[in-house]
């Protein structure tokens, strides 16, 4: 997760990677998850946080979290 630590993430969802010069946009759920990842939360903790924060059901939250992590892997932001 160390690559995430270097990212600058604004509340509006603009992300800048100073190492590669790439920028990204994400939505508010994305910002929420990224901040949890940066702070070292694991998958179960993130799912629980999504359920509490958004009132989404656990099944959907987990499904969407996996999808988001796959996207981060595609961009090589996590391993």
């Amino acid at each position: 997760m160390n690559r995430l630590a270097r990212l600058a993430i604004s509340d509006e969802g603009f992300i800048f990677d100073p190492e590669t010069g790439n920028s990204y946009t994400t939505n508010s759920t994305g910002v929420f998850i990224l901040n949890l990842l940066k702070s070292g939360a694991d998958e179960d903790e993130i799912v629980k946080a999504l359920v509490e924060e958004y009132g989404v059901d656990e099944e959907e939250a987990r499904r969407d979290l996996y999808d988001f992590l796959e996207q981060l892997r595609v961009y090589r932001l996590i391993d």
Binding site: T29, L65, V74
Partner: protein
């Protein structure tokens, strides 16, 4: 209160991509909750998903628009409905009600038109393969026959002898009008003199009355100028025939080929820009006619337009079954409708609409069907926000060729409904069942499973 939930997404900002898609993409999903006032939900609840939906209002309107474009410019026009484009009884019946005759290319289509109540004289019989039995029926019933091969001339002469009738016929001509691909395999070639040979052969036989010329250049033709060349060549041939032989060319059939507002693959402009209006085709065709016909001579102009008339009245409702992230980062969706019922997906990018507002930025995605075959790609270039399972997609235009070329493969073909002008929904083709498929099978007694 909990914050509004949006599926998490992340996109890399790419300079080139920014211009191409932006964030209010022209290909972005529009929301469609109704078709002609009927809720998508209600349609699916009553008839299931996937579901073909035809709009009677759109069909009639389009037909009138296309027809008027010609009848307001030329005094003698006939529209003949291209059965192969869509031969569902209800669709063909609407077009016959609007005054179209029937253009058929097989004995099956011929029989279907007759069964609907179209008289023989209102049928145009085209195609490269006309079994002699079908020619007997067509000649007896007074159908107009557009001859495709020299063999067919001989067959018709035989039928003429048998029945003691002098059939009215036309020849189909193919020619160079500057478009590609050139459909040179149908009828007789203009430039190399083959068409003239066919005329001579018919005259020599003395048993057939040559009364028309036919040409169908291709489909989704984006160049109205091609029709101008087609018409001039046909009129020129008509007068050569009339001057040389004792024939009167009563009709010039320019075929179909006008495009619908669909997005042909490989053409990047939206249909509103890439597809010329029907008036431009009508103007070119009728001006070419009026400027090359002899004074007082108005042979009938026949049009066999198919897709331009019916495509936009047809929609397919399909449902998102699952979604997955592909290794290249794109999102893929599994839909309940595949290319076996959407043949035109091989050539066109449909307009994709969704049945509800979905939060989140649009992203490039691929729409897969349910076929368990790698080729089952309904669209490889859709641009949609992250869709929850159960979202309905409304694909259009799909009214042309799909409900005739569709095939039964691993699943049942879905129902087709018609939304009437009064907003009433009627079933015009039931969804298939196991019984439909196994009815024609015979299992030899010795192979029956014991037990």
């Amino acid at each position: 209160m909990a914050k509004r939930y949006e599926k998490p997404v992340i996109h890399r900002l790419q300079m080139g991509m920014m211009n191409k898609f932006g964030f209010a993409s022209p290909f972005g999903a529009r929301v469609r909750k109704h078709i002609d006032g009927v809720a998508i939900d209600e349609l699916v609840e009553r008839f299931g998903s996937p579901l073909f939906v035809f709009s009677e209002r759109r069909l009639r309107q389009k037909f009138r628009e296309v027809k008027n474009a010609f009848t307001l410019r030329y005094p003698n026009v006939e529209f003949s409905w291209s059965y192969k484009t869509n031969y569902l009884d209800a669709i063909a019946a609407i077009l016959h009600d609007e005054g179209a005759t029937a253009e058929v290319v097989s004995e099956f289509e011929y029989e279907k038109a007759r069964r609907l109540g179209v008289p023989g004289e209102q049928i145009i019989y085209n195609g490269p393969y006309k079994p002699i039995d079908s020619l007997r029926v067509a000649v007896k019933e007074g159908a107009r026959i557009n001859i495709d091969t020299f063999e067919e001339i001989a067959d018709l002469e035989q039928v003429a002898d048998e029945l003691g009738i002098r059939p009215k016929v036309a020849i189909r001509v193919n020619m160079d009008t500057g478009i590609h691909p050139r459909w040179s395999r149908f009828g007789f070639n203009y430039e190399n003199g083959q068409a003239w040979d066919a005329v001579k052969r018919i005259a020599m036989g003395g048993k057939l009355d040559l009364v028309g010329l036919h040409c169908h250049m291709g489909t989704f033709i984006l160049k109205p100028e091609a029709y101008e060349i087609e018409v001039k060549k046909l009129v020129d041939l008509a007068y050569r025939i009339e001057d040389e032989y004792d024939f009167k060319i009563e009709y010039i059939d320019v075929g179909g080929g006008f495009p619908s507002r669909n997005r042909l693959k490989g053409i990047y402009l939206p249909p509103d820009v890439a597809v010329p209006p029907i008036d431009e085709y009508a103007e070119r065709i009728t001006t070419a006619l009026l400027s090359s016909l002899r004074p007082g001579d108005y042979p009938k102009l026949i049009l066999e337009s198919g897709r331009a008339i019916v495509d936009e009245s047809g929609f397919l409702i399909t449902t998102v079954h699952a979604s997955k992230r592909l290794p290249d980062g794109r999102r893929g969706y599994v839909l309940d409708a595949g290319v076996n019922i959407l043949f035109t997906a091989f050539w066109y990018h449909f307009n994709v609409e969704i049945d509800r507002e979905v939060q989140g930025a649009a992203e490039p995605c691929i729409l897969y069907g349910p076929l368990c075959m790698n080729i089952d790609v309904v669209d490889d270039r859709a641009y949609l926000p992250p869709l929850p399972r159960g979202t309905r997609l409304i694909l259009s235009p799909v009214g042309a060729y799909n409900v005739t070329q569709w095939m039964q493969f691993i699943r049942y073909r879905p129902a087709v409904v018609l939304v009437g002008e009064d907003g009433k929904v009627e079933l015009i083709r039931e969804a298939e069942s196991l019984e439909d498929i196994v009815r024609r099978e015979r299992l030899p007694e010795r192979l029956k499973l014991k037990g």
